[in-house]
Amino acid sequence: MLEINSLNVFHGPIQAVHDIDMIVSEGQCVTLLGPNGAGKTSTLSAITGTARATGSIRLGGDQIAHMSVDDRSRRGLAISPEGRRVFANLSVRENLLMGGALYNSKAQLSAKIEQWFVQFPTLRERSDQLAGTLSGGEQQMLAISRALLSNPRILLLDEPSLGLAPQIVSKIFDIIRDLKAQGTTILLVEQNAAAAVSVSDYVYVLNNGVIYIHGQTDQFGHGSELMNELTGVYV
C-alpha cells in the first residue's frame, strides 16, 4: 500500500532523515519506533507532504512524492497527527465534518458520522462541545475518527499515546487493535515500544534519521527490551 524508497527529509538546511526505505502492506500495521528526535515525525511529514523531502513515495502504486498536501490526502492518506491537532474552537461534530472533505453527499457524511458515534459513544455525548474542552483521550478518539471518515487507504498515527495516562493509552491501543482487525492499513509512530509492538505486524526502528533494524514483531520479543538494546534508553 505504501512504499518508500531513498527518502531524505529536510527541515530548512538540516537533514532529519537519511535515505530510508519502508513498506507497509495492505491490512498491515507497521510501527516506526525510535526515541525523541529520531526522525519519526519527520518521516510522516514527508509522507503527508508537509516537510521537504527527496525520494520516492508510492501510495497504492502511484507516485505521490511530487503532490501537494491536499492532493495526497485526497488520494487516500489520512493522519492523526502529533498532538492530535483537533480544531479546538469547533465542536466535536464540526471536527468530524472536517473529515468529510471527500464526501459529495451530506446524507452519506452524516450516516458515517453516526457510525463513529456508535463506535465512540463519548463523542456522541460531547458532539456539541468545543473540541478543545475534551480530555486527551477523547481528543485522540476524535482525531482518529476524523482521519478515518475519509475511508483512507492508509491511516498514519503519530504518537497516539503522547501525554495520556496508562489506562487511556491501553484503551486507545484497544481501538487500534480493533481497527486492524477490521482491515485498516496503519502506519504507527510511537515512542512507547511495548504498546506499539503489541498491535503491529512489522517494526522499523529509527534513530538519528536512519533505520537501525527492521523485521517482524515476533522476532523482537518484548518491546521494551528491544528499545533498551538498540538505543540504550530505558523505557
Partner: protein, 298 residues
C-alpha cells in the same frame, strides 16, 4: 431626543460601513495571516466598474449594483491568484509589503487608465434621501446601510456555521495545515475567503458611492485605513472583533464630532487615532483577540 436618535443612527451607519470593510480584512487575515492593504482598491475598482458598466451597458442602477458586486469579487479573487499566492507561507512583513505594493500598482493603474481627476458616478445617489419618521428626519441611506450590514453579518455567520466551506474556513483560521491534511483544497478555502471579502467590499462600495457620487484613484485609501484600525482594536483576525472595532470607531467618530468645537472638526480623526493608541496600550492585541488553537504550537 430626536438629536440623540439622529446621532445614534449616524454612529450606526458609520460603524456599519467600517465594519463591512473591516470584516473583509479580518477574514483574509484570519486564514492567511495577510494584511490586505489592497482591499481599499477592491472597493475603488467597484466604483470604477460603475463607470464602465454605465458606459458600456446600461444606466439601470440595479444592474450596476450587481456589476459592482461582481467586479469586487472578481478583483479580490484575481488579486489572490496573481499577487498573493507567491507569498502565501511568508511572514507578516512580506505579506504586508506585498499587499502594499499591489495597492500602489492598482492606484496608479486607475490613474493611468482612468484619470487623475474624479469621474462622476452618481447612479446610487438616489439611495440617499432625507425621510421623516414622526418628528425625526433621517437619511434613508443610513437606514439601508445599517440594515444591509446587519443582514450581511447574519448571512456570513450562517455561512460560517452551516456550510462545509464555511466550517473549513473557520478551521483554517485555527490550523490551516491540518485543514489541508484533512483533504480540503487550500486554494479553494483561500479563494473563498477572498471572494467573501470581495462581496463585503462590494456592499460597502455601493454605500460609499451613494454618498460620494464620484470615483478617484485614491478613494480606497481612507476606507481601508479605517478598516485596518477597526480590526486592530477589535483584535486582528477576529471576525466579531472586526465588527466590534468598526462600530466602536463609528461611535468614537460621532462622539468626537459632537464633543469637539466646530473649529476643531478636522482634529476628529486625530482624536480618534489617539483613542486607538490608548486602546492598544491597554490591550496590545486588541479587545477580542482571536482564539489561538490550543496545542503544542507556540
Amino acid at each position: 431626543m430626536d438629536y440623540a436618535i439622529q446621532q445614534t443612527l449616524n454612529a450606526l451607519s458609520f460603524g456599519a460601513e467600517y465594519a463591512l470593510i473591516a470584516l473583509g480584512l479580518a477574514i483574509v487575515f484570519s486564514i492567511m495571516g495577510l494584511v490586505n492593504f489592497a482591499h481599499g482598491e477592491v472597493v475603488a475598482f467597484g466604483g470604477y466598474s460603475m463607470v464602465i458598466t454605465a458606459t458600456l451597458l446600461t444606466s439601470n442602477p440595479w444592474i450596476i449594483m450587481i456589476g459592482v458586486m461582481f467586479a469586487c469579487v472578481l478583483t479580490a479573487v484575481v488579486l489572490e491568484r496573481v499577487a498573493f499566492r507567491t507569498v502565501r507561507g511568508a511572514d507578516l512583513t512580506t505579506g504586508l509589503l506585498t499587499a502594499f505594493g499591489v495597492s500602489i500598482v492598482l492606484q496608479n493603474l486607475f490613474l493611468l487608465l482612468g484619470s487623475p481627476r474624479a469621474i462622476a458616478a452618481t447612479q446610487f445617489i438616489f439611495l440617499d434621501k432625507t425621510i421623516t419618521i414622526g418628528t425625526i428626519r433621517v437619511s434613508s441611506l443610513q437606514i439601508y446601510e445599517t440594515l444591509a450590514t446587519l443582514v450581511a453579518i447574519v448571512v456570513l455567520t450562517l455561512f460560517l456555521r452551516k456550510t462545509p466551506l464555511g466550517i473549513a474556513m473557520r478551521a483554517a483560521a485555527l490550523d490551516f495545515e491540518m485543514v489541508r491534511l484533512c483533504g480540503f483544497r487550500a486554494n479553494r478555502v483561500i479563494a473563498g475567503a477572498f471572494a467573501i471579502s470581495g462581496l463585503l467590499a462590494g456592499l460597502a462600495c455601493i454605500f460609499i458611492m451613494a454618498r460620494r457620487g464620484s470615483v478617484q484613484p485614491n478613494m480606497g485609501f481612507d476606507p481601508v485605513l479605517v478598516a485596518f484600525v477597526a480590526c486592530v482594536i477589535g483584535g486582528f483576525g477576529s471576525l466579531p472583533g472586526a465588527v466590534l472595532g468598526g462600530f466602536l470607531l463609528g461611535v468614537a467618530e460621532v462622539t468626537m464630532l459632537i464633543i469637539l468645537p466646530q473649529s476643531a472638526g478636522g482634529l476628529a480623526s486625530a482624536a480618534v487615532f489617539s483613542l486607538v493608541a490608548l486602546v492598544l496600550i491597554w490591550r496590545p492585541d486588541g479587545i477580542l483577540s482571536p482564539a489561538r488553537n490550543k496545542g503544542d504550537k507556540i
